[in-house]
Amino acid sequence: MRRGFWLWAAALATYAFLYVPLAVVVLFSFNDSELNASWVGFTTRWYGKLLGDADLLQAAANSLLIAIVSSTIATILGTMAGIALHRWRPRFLPFLVLTPVAMPEILLGVSLLLFFRQVLDLTLGLFSILAAHITFSIGFVAIIIRARLAGMDESIFEAARDLGATPWRTFVRVTFPLILPGIVAGFLMSFTLSIDDFVITFFVAGVGVTTLPLQIYSMIKVAVTPEVNAISTLLMALTLTLIALASRFAPDALRKSA
């Protein structure tokens, strides 16, 4: 009984540790004080200010656009990679697909910067960010798809083959519907990763194309007003919804991908 109590206490303490700081961020988004050093009063004007902040809205639009495009491409490529990893296990593919997931982001960011500037002499901008985001998302999608396939009964595919279905038909009629929850989870995961990414985008973003995290970073460094809290709260609400959706579609896939 006592052991149970201590475990509960420890668990609750950890949950508190996880949530209190975020609660503080949300709470102080309603603080009527520009310096936001201590609580002054309740106001919602910072949310109003957000809507008038053209730079921030532009950054948000960019982030959304980049996230949608990069997740779509990453999901397609990642699904192919996941199927390949499961079905044929080519020797080099796991390294190519999984290493970007395991590497510290700064290494990916730096090497892409060098590649774009030195080799391609490319002006950094939308394309460089898209390429970078797709690169690190493919691995996540592949892991989710592979996990989903691994949990499946092989006999279905054998049955389809025995009945004379071509690989394409097998994919469309059998594989695809079965992995669809995984594909959706993978898309949502890539979307979240893209919207949230800071480090890699920091190195490969160019002029005139800011993303939301980069904008938040410069806001934090330059002038921290409750506006930062407000945009943080809104962002939390958005990604919260997405993760809840993802867990609805493929709860095991999410856990196995950890």
Binding site: A84, L113, M236
Partner: protein, 277 residues
């Protein structure tokens, strides 16, 4: 029928090629190639105004590496980064383990909710999570200190430790614990002799998922840390975005890559010895 089976074979190989090639090609171009470029850049001369000197003018040499080896400060920073990563991993483990155990012992229906509650803070942007600590630690006078850096690192990476641990602990067969109890083992012995060894693959997984990213972090020390709390991630960032010394930055990146591969290799080897993660 020989004709149709070789058709099927060819269709099979074509399928395999069509499915494997696009993601592989993309990753070769946007991951492998840049990695090799970075490795090559570490052997070049710095440009007169920054960046890289043209190959014809500067040639290739080991200057950047000699520079790193010359001064113990770089080894010191790498060691310090390892220490911070290790400490963060340990603290994450101490916080995550009771929580994971508590979730596993809950009724099945509640478990998914509890796991979701773990993932949700992860849903907030990583900078926001750091910013939250700036708000909290400022009035406490703990901002710009090693404590702040550690708090930030732990906070950002905790979910990465909780999830693999939970996934592992969930698979433990309760019958083993019952058997141990029947054999007279006390609560602590049961944990230490049964649960802990079985959970090691999960511990290793989670540890790798915390240790490696922490090694490369720069935003946490930059925003929460004080004057002395520079880690190797900050050093690398500085070379590219402040000093314009790309060869040195590339060389440091390669050193970090080697360190990461060593840790990953060690973790993989340990996991393999213990069976499935």
């Amino acid at each position: 029928m020989p004709g149709s089976s070789s058709n099927t074979e060819r269709a099979g190989r074509l399928t395999r090629w069509l499915v494997t090639a696009p993601p592989a090609a993309f990753l070769v171009v946007f991951f492998l190639l840049p990695a090799l470029i970075m490795a090559a850049a570490s052997f070049r001369e710095p440009g007169e105004f920054g960046g890289l000197a043209p190959l014809a003018a500067g040639g290739m040499n080991l200057d950047a590496y000699r520079f790193i080896v010359d001064d113990p400060i770089y080894a010191w920073i790498l060691a310090k980064s390892f220490a911070v990563a290790g400490l963060t991993t340990l603290i994450c483990l101490l916080l995550a383990y009771p929580l994971a155990m508590r979730i596993v012992r809950s009724p099945r229906r509640r478990r998914d909710l509890l796991v979701l509650l773990v993932i949700l803070p992860f849903a907030s942007n990583f900078l926001i999570r750091i910013y939250a600590w700036m708000i909290i630690l400022g009035p406490l006078g703990l901002l710009y200190s090693p404590v702040a850096v550690l708090a930030g690192m732990v906070y950002v990476h905790l979910p990465f430790m909780i999830l693999p641990l939970y996934t592992n602990l969930e698979k433990h067969d309760p019958a083993l614990l019952e058997a141990a109890q029947d054999l007279g083992a006390g609560r602590w012995a049961r944990f230490w002799r049964v649960t802990w060894p079985l959970s090691l693959p999960g511990v290793l997984s989670g540890s790798a998922l915390v240790f490696i990213p922490v090694l490369g972090m720069f935003a946490v020390p930059e925003l929460l840390g004080g004057t002395g709390d520079l880690l190797i991630g900050n050093l690398i960032k500085e070379q590219f975005l402040d000093n314009r010394d790309w060869p040195l930055g590339a060389a440091l990146s390669l050193v970090l890559t080697a360190a990461v591969l060593a840790v990953a290799g060690l973790s993989a080897a340990l996991t393999r010895n213990r069976g499935q993660a």
